[in-house]
Amino acid sequence: MRRLLVILLLLAAMGARAQQKYADSLKNLIRVAKNDTTKAQLIHQLCYAYTWTNPDSSIIYSRQSLQLARKINYTVGIADGLGSLCDAETVLGNYPQALDYGFKALSLYKKLNNIVGCIYQNSTLALCYRDQGDYKTSMVYVHNALNLAAINHIPDNKVLGLFGEICSVYEKNNQLDSALFYAIKSSEHRSGVLYVFGSIYAKKGDEKLALQYFGKTIADAEASNIQVDIVDAYNGIARLYTAKGEPDSAIYYSKKAIALKSGKTYPLGLLETTTMLADIYEKEHTPDSAYKYLKLTISLKDNLFSRQKERDVQNIAFNEQLNQQELEKQQEQAAIRLKMYVLICVLLIILIVTFLQWRNSRHRKQANLRLQEQKEEIEAALDQLQLTQKQLIQSEKMASLGELTAGIAHEIQNPLNFVNNFSEVNIELISEMQTELESGTKEEVIEILEDVKQNLEKISHHGKRADGIVKGMLQHSRASSNIKEPTDINKLADEYLRLTYHGLRAKDKTFNSELITHFADNLPKVNVVPQDIGRALLNLFTNAFYAVHQKQKKAMPNYQPTVTLSTGMIDALIVISVKDNGDGVSEDIREKIMQPFFTTKPTGEGTGLGLSLSYEIVVNGHGGTIEIDSKEGEYTEFIIKLPI
């Protein structure tokens, strides 16, 4: 709590004796105080008790409290001490010292963030400037105090003392309405404020009210032993009478003021009195008295407002300004530093975020790179695989060629058998014919000629047959030419069925199967790559024979291995069916049977490529279909459908 509020209220309520009692009780308390802080606070209260009544004592106690506060490092105490020094020195008219203490106190309150302290210190400084007649600067401090109270929402009842002080500044600055407003607002109505009321009304020309308030002021101030206000009040009355043109009354009241001998304790008040008296006497043509008071006035003025003092005041104010600027600069710098820290933080965050993003993008890039590499590897592997597949297809062809060789040999031997023997028979027949011609039996000759003709036809037929077989073999061994040509499916299928059968027979003598063919008549020629379709069929035949052979091996009685080859036409499709009465194919195998490398044959017997090749040829090569129908234990049927 700031000093004025409590103490001055107390003082106002007390008489001079009571006040003395209060001072004595404070002194007693100070003596018994055990705690230094409490002691400093009590001394400080004592200072204020003396400020207006006995400024010299106030200064002595203020210094004591200041010393003690400094000793115990009690900062609020230091500020309070400096503040009360400022008050007392102002009353005594030592303005440079007052300002010096005042500024120091204010900066300490600021440092402590003591708002109420700041408000009252601003008000004290306003009074100091007021007493020097610098109302402009005084008003600045008044506004500072009011603004601080407003900004920090300080309730009025906490700063009533402030209103009491600033109303006097408004009054001196001739802002009478504002002065009245704050005087009323102060609601203290102690002598100082009562005097302000008086002055306001005097200036407003309400002589009667002014005199009333001045009277009240004197009564109140005498009760409180506040000489300062008594002097002011007498001066106020004198001013009134001077203005009224009643110099005698004015002189009377002025003399009353002079009688208070406030030269030391309140020189400013005395100065006003002497100035006034000098004027009056001058006007009254009383040169001696005028001279006397003029001399006194000059001496007091010199004392109060010497050039040195003015310089000091200016220096102090200037220093304060510098301090303020320094403080602002520091605050600015602090603000700049704060901004910089914020900026650095933001930059750091941006940096971190950027780094994270960079790292993420790098990871992504690396992942992409890895993916790319993997893709290339996979593509390379795929290329390799496709190449291998081609090689496998070729070797599969060669393997099936090997399988066929035996069959082909057999198939060639048969027609060759006929070609050789029929031609030999013909040679015999022709020589017989010669004999018959010589003997002249014409009928015999004709008969022989008929035979020769038939035999030649047979020779021709079987020669062509052998030719066809050899051609087929050559076609089969060649890499697919992919040239489609009109082909007799019946002939092609029959040829490959026989080739396959005899090929297998040549490899395994125990193998046997009945071959049943149902060739549809009038089947149109189909545009296919013959060796490809032949190979597709060969794979189906091989599987069919393999199936019946496996079942045969189980030595089931009455089992007749049978492979049935049928051709036909459904809608615009040529249908080739290869059916065996083997063990059939289970459903799960049926799904996989067309996949490359899928085989049910023991390792080494099948590549698993046969059916996938057939599928490739029929479906991809010729736009046809391969279906599989099977009943386990009974049959398997592959049905190829080719578009015409």
Binding site: A409, V425, K458, N512
Partner: protein, 129 residues
């Protein structure tokens, strides 16, 4: 002298070939040829004409019953008198030959048939009889 010979071959043209090749012998009544296009047909024929057939010429590689199987059946079914069975095949390899011998073939000939050799063999076997 009238010797009935059964020729078993899935090739239909074997018939005219034999008839022409042996036309003199047939004319002379030396040989009498019958033909079967499969092993099954041959067995059927034998079933009815067992006593007449003195010699059987059979191809090995035939659809359905093979020549070797036919041979086994003949050796199994007709012990007395055992007919002469000569195997004719396009595969003149040792394995075929050995198998035929094991199953009791009297002779093993390869295609293309050398009819002069065949005639010689036929004469030998029939003469023995």
């Amino acid at each position: 002298m009238h010797a009935k010979i059964l020729v078993v071959d899935d090739e239909a043209d074997v018939q005219p070939l034999f008839i022409q090749r042996f036309r003199r012998e047939i004319k002379n009544g030396e040989f009498d040829f019958s033909f079967a296009l499969s092993g099954e047909e041959a067995l059927e024929f034998l079933h009815h004409h067992h006593s007449e057939v003195v010699l059987i010429l059979s191809d090995i590689n035939m659809p359905g019953m093979t020549g070797i199987e036919l041979l086994s059946r003949i050796r199994h079914d007709y012990e007395k008198p055992p007919p002469v069975v000569m195997m004719i095949t396009a595969y003149g390899d040792d394995e075929n030959r050995q198998q035929a011998a094991e199953k009791g073939a009297n002779e093993f000939l390869t295609k293309p048939l050398d009819f002069n050799l065949l005639k010689e063999k036929l004469h030998t076997f029939i003469h023995q009889d």
